[in-house]
């Protein structure tokens, strides 16, 4: 179970307590590095496509006008470029969902670190920092790569280090803040839309299985949750392996027509009933090694 422990530990490291005014801890989960990077890449690509299409339209109009009286088109072009490149993130994060398209796909949203409301001031501040974190150094590097001579190797190296420092900045603090979050007092939390999964204890089969108290006290809460996961994944091989292991542990002789799934479901229902009942009396049995 060591792999399970490691994931649980990593998961716990991302949990933050946010106590609502009603006194309930929401146990928020902050977005991890992978989700943040994924969201950013999605946004960046979409933004580049929009800017590309816009510039193409401007260029096409300029070409068709043949350079005569083209001043206005240029102005529309650069103002539009400015709005698209700076307004994308700010605009989306000001919406009620406080998330860009990429963040929505990854189930993330921006929130004020103090739990209060997310102000537009904070959104503006965090996104202007993007300019030094990513946009400008990358622009310099692209310009440098395409125009020989204007940027030497040393400048390129400096820009690469610069971008690197800011890109990896979120990995070196525990709240996964980037420089913009730091200045704006924000963080990025996960609020994925979850569907309510069926309750696994609702099973017709449990009537046929009678487990004794000794058999039900073989495991604790942690094992119950693993079992829940196994039952939800419904992977045949894993279910067989787990069912065999439990049967051995509790000395259970399988009935003639009993399937692994039925057995596991019945055992889950029985175990949960017992653990929940003991919980009502104040015994919260952490795992199978817990003697309480």
């Amino acid at each position: 179970m060591s792999a399970y422990d490691a994931t649980a530990k990593a998961e716990a490291a991302l949990r933050r307590s946010l106590v609502t005014p009603e006194g309930v801890d929401l146990n928020l989960r902050i977005g991890d590095a992978g989700q943040r990077i994924g969201a950013f890449l999605i946004d960046w690509v979409l933004q580049m496509i929009c800017i590309g299409l816009f510039l193409w339209a401007v260029g096409w109009t300029l070409a068709s006008m043949g350079g005569k009286d083209a001043g206005h088109i240029w102005i529309i072009g650069f103002l539009g470029f400015f709005i698209l490149s700076n307004g994308w993130f700010i605009g989306f994060e000001l919406s009620p969902r406080a998330a860009t398209i990429g963040k929505r796909i990854m189930g993330l949203r921006v929130a004020a670190r103090d739990g209060g409301r997310l102000t537009a001031e904070a959104v503006v501040a965090r996104n202007i920092m993007r300019e030094i974190e990513f946009a400008a150094p990358v622009k310099f590097m692209i310009i440098g790569a395409f125009s020989q001579g204007s940027a030497d190797g040393l400048t390129m190296l400096f820009m690469a280090i610069w971008t690197g420092i800011f890109l990896f900045f979120p990995l070196f603090n525990k709240d996964r803040l980037r420089a913009g979050d730091l200045i704006a007092g924000t963080w990025v939390v996960r609020t994925p839309k979850r569907t309510l999964l069926p309750d696994l204890s609702d099973t017709d089969a449990s009537g046929h299985f009678k487990f004794t108290d000794a058999q039900l006290s073989a495991y604790g809460i942690k094992e119950l949750h693993v079992l829940e996961q196994v039952l939800r994944n419904r992977d045949r091989k894993t279910m067989t392996a787990v069912a065999d292991r439990i049967r051995r542990k509790i000395d259970w002789t399988p009935g003639e027509y009993e399937s692994d799934e039925q057995f596991l479901q019945a055992y889950y229902a029985g175990l949960r009933a017992r653990l929940e009942q003991r919980m009502l009396f104040g015994h919260r049995r952490k795992d199978k090694f817990d003697k309480a």
């Binding site: 240029w74 102005i75 103002l79 004020a112 904070a122 030094i132 730091l182 609020t191 017709d204 009933a273």
Partner: protein, 336 residues
Amino acid sequence: MAALQLKSAKFRQERQHDWSRLSGLLEKVESRGARSLTDEQLLAIPVLYRSALSSLSVARATSLDHSLIEYLEGLCARAYFLVYGTRPWIGERLVHFFTTGWSRAVTSIWKETLAAGLITIFAAVLGYVLVSQNPDLYFSFVSPDMAQGRDPTATYKTLRDGLYDGGPAGQLGPFAASLFQHNAQISLFCFALGFAFCVPTAMLLIQNGSMLGAMLAVFAAKGLGWNFAGWIMIHGVTELYAIILAGGAGFKIGLAVAFPGDKTRLDAASEAGRACGGAMAGVVLMLLIAGIIEGFGRQLITSDVARYAIGIGSGVLWMSYFYLPRRRKGLANVRL
């Protein structure tokens, strides 16, 4: 249904209707905004939110259904952000921003703005004096692609044509575009780099100011100083002011990081950052306005008097808009 239903399963059955109702309402607000709900639905949200919260507490204490607890945590978090994070309607916020929020944000950094302004003026004077005495120094202040032929070797005619005709036809647009990009970049950088103890911000302001002074020196040497000032002023008052404000905001953050006082550096920086966010939103708006004036106005209006009038007029407007004292209304706690 099995006879021996768990207490926790029963608990869930009794309440899941409310949860899914809350989830549906959240969905609607998130995709179509709060205005898509009826009054009755709007009033139901806080009630449903509190009952979901209490369900969560009960579930944590009595249920071992892991997925149920995760579902409720997610639901409550989403509802929490809606209930406690709701901001007034966007129109109301914009009205507030333009009536009081913007000017208050700018006024709150007046000391830093003054410092940024003085640095810019000092650098401009320095650039002017140095280039007047030794024109060879010109290109150490102005990069060739910014200068575009406006250098000490240019003739009176080219310089003058540049001011009134915008040089060869067709180049106007690209030049205005590159100047706008340059200035927008400088202002965003002035703010964003401020956290490094104000140093990069000060360097950017000095560079920008000395460039202006050096260019002025070139034109003044040919007797076009007055005309050049008018050409710059028509949009430059707004744009330079935007850069100075961004510099002030950068200084504010840099100072907060350098001298956090009783707070941690992190808290001090984020407090300063949020205080300046409103001013920076305004800076972006000013840059857009300057860009429009630059693109349309500068080439259309070629009379010096009109240029000065617009330049000075816009300066007076900005100053009075930002710094004239105004009555504080009851909306004091509406934040953008």
